[in-house]
């Protein structure tokens, strides 16, 4: 490849097929399509949930039925038909996970394709993995090590059985059931997800990680994640997604709630690579996610995300900085290609004194995609000495795609210091020329520039996850990331 130009890169980006589009044939138990109170009750019954949980779901369902789908986002798509979705799907065999040999070999093969070798991870990476295939957790490792520290890390369905007091105390406190259309839907029908509790003063010794995966055609996945970090604790939580090729649009409406009590710190990293649809914009996952964290005094929540997949992304990981001196951070790379549409960003709500927030958002658009940053920085009147810094940079490849920024800044306190800056550019010809002059060929130069463009965010990912993120960026921008 003697002369690799930006056009070649664009060409390659546009024609690149989804590499992880495979489908594992595992017998699944699936509910009939449609949603009503009986379905909600049936899900709850299936999970053997206590009455308070069933009531909570029903309440959410009633709220949801009165709500309308939001239309303000800068995306256009065919609305999902909510009565055409099956709301529960679980692999029939539910292996016990004390021994890895008991796991269905087909499943293991799936994991291998995803690049997750449980053995290897156990041995080398020191990562506890709670793997969710179609909403039901089928593998949990390192539970023992975590147990010794008093850390609870389990599927939320089990947590409801085993630690109802904790779930009851915190579930829905950050994202109420009535928060928005998709959060209400999730509250009513969520089938599983992860629950994590770090006791007082404990520093979680390893990265906690969950791999989600949509498997059964025509089923939406509604996970619910709840992470509670008690006073003075620390946890780093990883979430990564891949999904197989489907022609009909799949709906994914997850809710993630983080609670950082006094002096606690939560680091939440996501690599998202749901199926984006083929290069004509057909198929692909609709990703409508509500993520929000609550910071008490001196607490810190840090969101890092690498978004490469989904036909539609609608996602605003937020921080409510309630306690004094609390810190919120948001680092994001969003790559859109072909007909992908992303409307993503963050909300930083400053309530406490001396609260700080940082927003770094990098958008890369190629093909015919639309990439929007939508963010809110709100400094309330009692948030003395609040500080915010926001930076949104967009990189465009070709003139068929679009980059948009919608930053909302609302300040009600005079001691606030808020800075927002945004830039949009393409890969500079001068930058390329500079590299060429120094003997770096164009391909490597583009790699260098794209890498440098996203470095600020990639650096924030935990070591173990950075590999995965690099891999996914490579798939989206192959030929440019070296």
């Amino acid at each position: 490849m003697s002369k690799y130009t930006e056009d070649d890169l664009r060409e390659e980006l546009e024609t690149k097929e989804y590499e992880y589009g495979f489908y594992t044939d595992i017998e699944s138990e699936t509910f009939a399509k449609g949603l009503n109170e009986d379905v909600v009750r049936a899900i709850s019954k299936k999970k053997n949930e206590p009455k308070w949980m069933t009531d909570w779901r029903l309440e959410a369902f009633r709220v949801w039925s009165k709500m309308e789908e939001p239309e303000w986002a800068n995306v256009s798509y065919k609305k999902p038909e909510f009565q055409e979705i099956a709301y529960y799907s679980a692999p029939k065999q539910k292996p016990k996970l004390n021994n890895i040999d008991e796991v269905d070999p087909d499943l293991l093969a799936t994991f291998e394709k995803l690049g997750i070798s449980l053995e290897e991870q156990k041995r080398l990476a020191n990562v506890a993995v709670d793997i969710v295939v179609d909403s039901v957790s089928v593998a949990t490792t390192f539970k023992k090590t975590l147990g010794e520290k008093g850390i609870i890390f389990m599927p939320i369905s089990e947590a409801i059985q085993e630690h109802p007091e904790l779930v009851k105390k915190y579930l829905g406190t950050v994202v109420p059931t009535s928060d928005n259309f998709y959060a209400a839907l999730n509250s009513a029908v969520f089938s599983d997800g992860s629950f994590c509790y770090i006791p007082k003063g404990v520093r979680c010794p390893m990265e906690l990680s969950t791999y989600f995966r949509i498997n059964e055609g025509g089923t939406g996945q509604f996970e619910r994640t709840l992470v509670v970090a008690d006073k003075g604790s620390f946890v780093s939580y990883l979430e990564g997604c891949t999904a197989p090729s489907r022609d009909e649009n799949q709906l994914h409406a997850a809710v993630v709630e983080l609670i950082a009590l006094d002096d606690a710190e939560i680091k939440y990293s996501t690599v998202q690579n749901w199926y984006p649809g083929n290069n004509e914009g057909k198929g692909g996952v609709y990703n409508f996610v509500t993520k929000r964290g609550l910071c008490e005094t001196n607490a810190k929540i840090s969101w890092t995300q690498v978004e490469t997949g989904s036909a539609i992304t609608w996602k605003y990981p937020s921080c409510i900085l309630k306690g004094n001196n609390s810190v919120g951070e948001f680092y994001s790379i969003a790559v859109t290609n072909n007909y992908q549409q992303a409307d993503t960003g963050t909300k930083m709500i400053h309530l406490g004194k001396n609260t700080k927030s940082t927003i770094i958002s990098k958008g890369i658009s190629a093909g015919k995609s639309q990439n929007s940053y939508r963010g809110l920085v709100q400094i309330n009147s009692r948030a003395e000495n609040a500080r915010n810094f926001s930076q949104c940079d967009s990189l465009l490849m070709g003139n068929k795609c679009g980059a948009h920024t919608f930053p909302y800044i609302e300040v009600k306190n005079k001691t606030a210091q808020v800075e927002h800056e945004a830039t949009t550019s393409k890969i500079g010809e001068e930058q390329l020329f500079y590299c060429n002059q120094r003997g770096i060929d164009t391909e490597k130069a583009i790699a260098l520039i794209v890498n440098g463009f996203s470095k600020e965010v990639l650096n924030k990912l935990p070591m173990e996850f950075a590999v995965e993120a690099q891999k996914l960026l490579e798939i989206s921008l192959e030929g440019s990331v070296g």
Binding site: G398, G402, P407, I409, V411, H420, E421
Partner: protein
């Protein structure tokens, strides 16, 4: 009866005073139907999220002030830029005042909209430009429906207008509440150059609501400098809708100085219809009390190789609220666009609020677009430094604020306007120092 109903029912009376068999009236009728459908904007509209007109729409406005009130030049002289010779188009309660005005038909036309809309000689220009650039949104439609009077400026090819043009709308306050809807049209042909100063001034404490629409058409190589001075009584509210269409290689700048008024909303829209265009949007806002100023700008880059520069400074004291909503759209054909947007704000009081939404929508890849938005305070150390050297805290603050706003002031091309604004700022900050240090 609410204001919308009152306006709708008074349309028949309005029709009595105009020729209803003209083309213009068809435009009016269509706009009227549009307003009837849309009504006044509410906070539910994204564009009006931070500005509510509810409090000012409650007044019982008189829509057609009856007679021309005469006022003495001595009483209003202070509102003119009087130390230089200018053309003047002056209205009192919406009626033209021949006594205060100085119009011309000598090679250029600086005259009245009412004659331009009715006389055959202006018909070609009116047909080409009237209501062609204006957006068909609710308040613009309302103005179009009642469009009858305002300033009409037509500068033919290769003409440099030797003195600035002042457009001033006075309200005498003989009615308890007055609503005005001036309509201005400014056509600047190839290679022409014009400077315009616009002001709205009420002379009493009675409520005023002004909904003004100005259309500016800047042809190739033309230059237009537009200065808007907004320093009205606290009882007066203003919705200023300005639409500017530019052709290749034209340069249009609009400076907006907002110091007075109750609720002020500036809808400033630029449409770039050629190459190598430069659009400049600048503003200084200094308000206190319960004042509210909303700058809503749009720059639409349609063709390649154009530039736009936005620079808005705001200082907000007491319970004042400021809004900045700046939108830049770069179409996919508009390669090599340079669009810059800057919005800096200082909050002086605990009760003041700023809502900013600097927005970019970009569809072309070979562009340089940036926006920056900051909200902060005056530098304590700089204040301390000046106090150490015997400069009072009030003066020190004023100096810093003046320096803060100066990037906007320094691009004002008429020295007398710059002096006037400097004095207004000193007055507003309640200090007695000349800033020309």
């Amino acid at each position: 009866m609410d204001l919308k109903e009152k306006i709708i029912s008074s349309y028949v009376a309005f029709e009595d005073g105009v020729n209803i068999n003209s083309d213009i009236h068809e435009i009016r009728t269509e706009a009227f139907q549009n307003f009837e459908k849309l009504g006044f904007p509410s906070k539910k509209l994204e564009a009006w999220k931070y500005t509510s007109l509810n409090t000012i729409l409650k007044e019982d406005y008189s829509i057609f002030p009856d007679k021309e009130k005469s006022i003495n030049l001595a009483d209003v002289k202070q509102y003119f830029i009087h130390d230089i010779d200018t053309y003047k188009v002056i209205f009192i309660d919406g009626k033209y005042s021949s006594f205060l005005s100085e119009t011309t038909h000598d090679s250029i036309d600086v005259c009245l909209m009412s004659s331009a809309l009715t006389k055959a000689k202006y018909k070609p220009v009116i047909e080409n430009y009237f209501n062609k650039i204006a957006k068909q949104d609710n308040l613009t439609s309302l103005n179009t429906a009642f469009s009858k009077e305002g300033a009409y400026i037509h500068i033919p090819k290769n003409t440099e207008v030797e003195k600035p043009i002042q457009i001033i709308n006075f309200t005498t306050g003989t009615e308890a509440a007055t609503m005005l809807q001036p309509r201005n049209l400014i056509v600047v042909e190839q290679n022409a150059h014009v400077q315009i100063i616009e002001r709205h001034q009420s002379l009493t404490e009675n409520a005023v609501l002004t909904n003004v629409v100005t259309e500016v058409y800047a042809d190739r190589h033309s230059t237009v400098d537009f200065y808007k001075i907004q320093n009205d009584h606290i009882s007066a509210s203003l919705v200023d809708n300005t639409f500017i269409e530019q052709q290749s290689e034209s340069v249009v700048s609009v400076h907006t100085f907002s110091f007075g008024g109750n609720i002020t909303r500036n809808n400033l829209n630029f449409y770039q219809k050629g190459e190598h265009i430069d659009s400049i949007l600048k503003g200084i806002t200094i308000i206190e009390g319960k004042q509210h100023v909303d700058h809503h700008t749009l720059v639409h880059h349609i063709e390649p190789n154009c530039e736009s520069h936005q620079d808005y400074k705001g200082i907000f004291d007491e319970r004042a609220t400021g809004v900045f909503n700046g939108k830049v759209i770069v179409e996919k054909e508009a390669q090599k666009t340079n669009a810059y947007q800057k919005n800096n704000n200082v909050l002086v009081s605990d009760k003041s609020t700023i809502n900013a939404k600097p927005q970019l929508e970009i569809f072309a890849d070979d562009v340089k677009c940036s926006h920056g938005c900051t909200i902060g305070q005056l530098d304590e150390e700089a204040l301390f430094y000046m106090q150490q050297r015997g400069i009072g805290i009030k003066e020190a603050r004023a100096l810093l604020m003046y320096a803060f706003a100066n990037t906007v002031l320094e691009s004002v091309k008429i020295p007398e306007v710059k002096d006037r604004i400097t004095r207004l700022i000193a007055n507003k900050l309640n200090v007695n120092i000349g800033f020309n240090i």
